[in-house]
Symmetry: C2
Subunit: 144 residues, 2 copies
DNA sequence: TTGATATTGATGCAACTGCATCTATATTGG
DNA sequence: CCAATATAGATGCAGTTGCATCAATATCAA
């Protein structure tokens, strides 16, 4: 019993793969051109900034961003070494730690957003009106 | 003049990133579980199969699949070593080569499609009806 | 023709990812 | 309480990617 996808589903799939690749490559290239780190760093900084005072545990970040545990562990390491993120040992769970973004991290996130936000405006905003963008988000959300 | 994307564009962007990650991780995991190689191999095999007799030049594959030149070069190497792809030296351009899929490659692509096609059916087909899938493809195409 | 430039594809090296596994601590069941 | 199991996070190693650059051939302009 080999089930096959219909052609509309395949077309949507291919468009998803292609649109994602083109869009992400574009953004990553813009960041690199501005001497800024990759998008993943932005995601971490932004989650930590949203988390505020109390910070976030790595496993929470992992779930929020859908990163692999070992990738996140090393990414945090790099970001810590780059002076963007603080690791505080966790009083109530001595296996763990709490992550906090510092001023330098917040400043970097802002600089990244200047580039990233503009890219989103140009890649999405210029090509879809608000209603279309909303419909796109709704359709994509059904795939999650 | 820092231009900012509107919230609908940002929402679409985030959905795109998330839907893509979830969907691709799902498919890659299914392939791995079936002891099959990654999606990129499928793409190469399928392009070569579509190209037929005359095969394809690496630079053509590169454009078709939006791969980086150096990644493609090494991917072809691995696929050649795996006995899936033949490299024929090119009579009219001695810098280049022509790539052909062989029987083993075609057979592998078919086995991959059994898994991949089912995944598309379940991930897209089960969640969007044909009209929705078509609308999604249309919207995503505008981003390319 | 010939020298300058562009294109095709490969590759050395550093960075990153995936996998398996490890240590340390927490939780749970008896 | 204790042993068994689960969870948090780190890490060694192999495989892959990104970057820079190279060699070989093709194209183009004078």
């Amino acid at each position: 019993m080999t089930r096959k996808p219909d052609s509309a589903a395949v077309a949507a799939w291919i468009s998803l793969a292609r649109a994602h690749r083109v869009a992400m490559c574009d953004v990553e290239a813009r960041l690199k051109a501005a001497d800024l780190p990759p998008l993943a760093w932005y995601d971490v900084l932004w989650e930590l900034e949203k988390a505020g005072e109390c910070g976030l545990r790595p496993f929470a970040l992992e779930k929020a961003l859908l990163f692999e545990q070992y990738n996140l562990s090393r990414l945090i390491d790099r970001m810590h070494k780059a002076g963007l993120v603080e690791r505080c040992s966790c009083p109530d769970d001595r296996r763990g730690q709490t992550l906090h973004v510092n001023d330098q991290g917040r400043a970097l996130r802002q600089r990244m957003w200047d580039v990233y936000g503009l890219a989103i405006a140009e890649i999405v905003g210029d090509r879809l009106d608000a209603a279309e963008a909303e419909r796109l988000a709704t359709l994509l959300a059904k795939l999650g």
